[in-house]
Symmetry: C2
Subunit: 358 residues, 2 copies
Amino acid sequence: MATPLDSFHAVIPAGGAGTRLWPLSRASRPKFLLDLDGSGRSLIQQTWDRLNDLVPAERIHVVTGHAHAAAIREQLPDLTGLFVEPSPRDSMPAIGLAAAVIGAEHPGAIIGSFAADHVIDDQVSFAEAIGQAVAVARTGLVTTIGITPTGPSTAFGYVESGDRLDVEGAGSARAVRSFVEKPDAETAARYVAGGAHSWNGGMFVTRTDVLMGHLERLQPGLHAGLRTIAEAWPTSSRDDVLDRTWPGLTKIAIDHAIAEPVALEGGMAVVPGEFTWDDVGDFAALLDIGAASSPETVWVDGSGLALSEDGTTIAVVGLDDVIVVRTHDALLVVARDRAQQVKDVVAELRRRGRDDLV
Amino acid sequence: MATPLDSFHAVIPAGGAGTRLWPLSRASRPKFLLDLDGSGRSLIQQTWDRLNDLVPAERIHVVTGHAHAAAIREQLPDLTGLFVEPSPRDSMPAIGLAAAVIGAEHPGAIIGSFAADHVIDDQVSFAEAIGQAVAVARTGLVTTIGITPTGPSTAFGYVESGDRLDVEGAGSARAVRSFVEKPDAETAARYVAGGAHSWNGGMFVTRTDVLMGHLERLQPGLHAGLRTIAEAWPTSSRDDVLDRTWPGLTKIAIDHAIAEPVALEGGMAVVPGEFTWDDVGDFAALLDIGAASSPETVWVDGSGLALSEDGTTIAVVGLDDVIVVRTHDALLVVARDRAQQVKDVVAELRRRGRDDLV
């Protein structure tokens, strides 16, 4: 008997270094490959586990660059669907490539895209949200999961929900009125008080043919390129066509290419995600998700997070809410409320020509 | 022709780990062996240089424990007078040993004791102070150098000066009225405003026979033990007598054994030291003496001192007046105004049985 997720494929775009988590994350060792919460599984492995609980391994696809393909294969030994981009062109070409190829092979397939480097807690709620999103996507709407805010965060974009939709198996689905960028504190507080706004977790669930249709209309050049690649995919000219076509694809995020314009046309839906979610954007977020300090740490009138990647002992004296990260080749000390500025360290190191450290 | 410093011998007691400079200083690598100010010379080498400018190498003596004898010989290749204590018995037995042996060999000798781990700037003023102190000591007074305060420090003891003395070649000498312990801030401010108080830099200049005479009266057991050792010193039984006698010597600092009681009897004098002096008691002091951060350090809205002993890059974001010290095996992050509490880290590490780190 068919189950609701039978035609569902998961796509994991794995890109971006996460410069605000330097020196843990590096260009050569991006955030998604790291075990940031000390769980024993990297963020992409946790993402895999979460999705593999819903669909078999052969329906989980990862899109990444050449630099990280080997590490991903090593971390995800059951992965069969790895798309290797010739160069980074942002999230729309990455997800579009998977959509075009999967849709050609499995007409009517529904894909959901999930960032490789987010943290989600509560698998039951996650599965419930995916089930509803797939039911809504089947009706032809591009569906996102709106994370129920735990507070007026200014670190995330928001989804404004509109009228309730009448979809069987998706009792909580609503139309999306609009997507809004990261707000200021006052606006965020108003959003959370109002109840119509949820966090944009960057998760999109859609029929491949619906996505390709939107692309054909909104980004015809990109659409044509993806079609060309998808047609060559099962043939011996796959790599030639990919290498030739890819550099010409429009570099654009799925939010700008699809989510924002389609929402304004009434083509987007949102289902609530009641689970704990974080994009672990900086070290303050890492503290928020409960990351533990290295057990050897000595605190004397101090508090915060101390991570010693090389196992050496860290001592903190007379400083509260401080984050200390030691790797074999670098050391970061940052005030918790300045965690966003760590990217400035990476910029400065690049300026100094210390690409070996970034 | 005889010069005023002809009978002068310098004695450098080299002991004490300096736990407030952990993780730079360790039991096995005490403060005096470290190049703390980046000058290229360790503190004991700087002390040697300062004294060797005044007296020849054969009149500079170091007293230390077995653990550091080899390192001192390596750092001071011209040193001929090394006294190795069988065990640490504080400063009075250490200086007393040197006084007894030097006095037996050179009747009428004047010794000056100088800590191995202090920083002094302005050799001209230092030499001027020593010259005056030796002139006063020749008259039979135990003479200290009172450091002219640069501010109302609560980190040092003070010397209260009394009446002016009439000694040729020591126009600034005064009697010592008393020695006072580290004061509170209000008292320190009053001392500095009053003008009669100077910092006790722990430098004592005295005729050996005068010192031994005070010891015979005030610490007769210690005096007898030192005499016994000094008599055996030129003989083949030196080591036997030293090992047998040393453990019974009273463990006491020269301040308590001699300076404080003799001052109350009117037997102490003080000459002013107009030079910059610091005992580099903690990392805040290290900042005060102008220690420079490792050149690779990246500061983003931050300030303080960042020392990377292993050459790795340190980045500090959003923290002012912070001190960061990285060694190959440990890491300290401390607020400048909490620098004294670093000793609590060492205590905690001992409690945890991490003697390898202290």
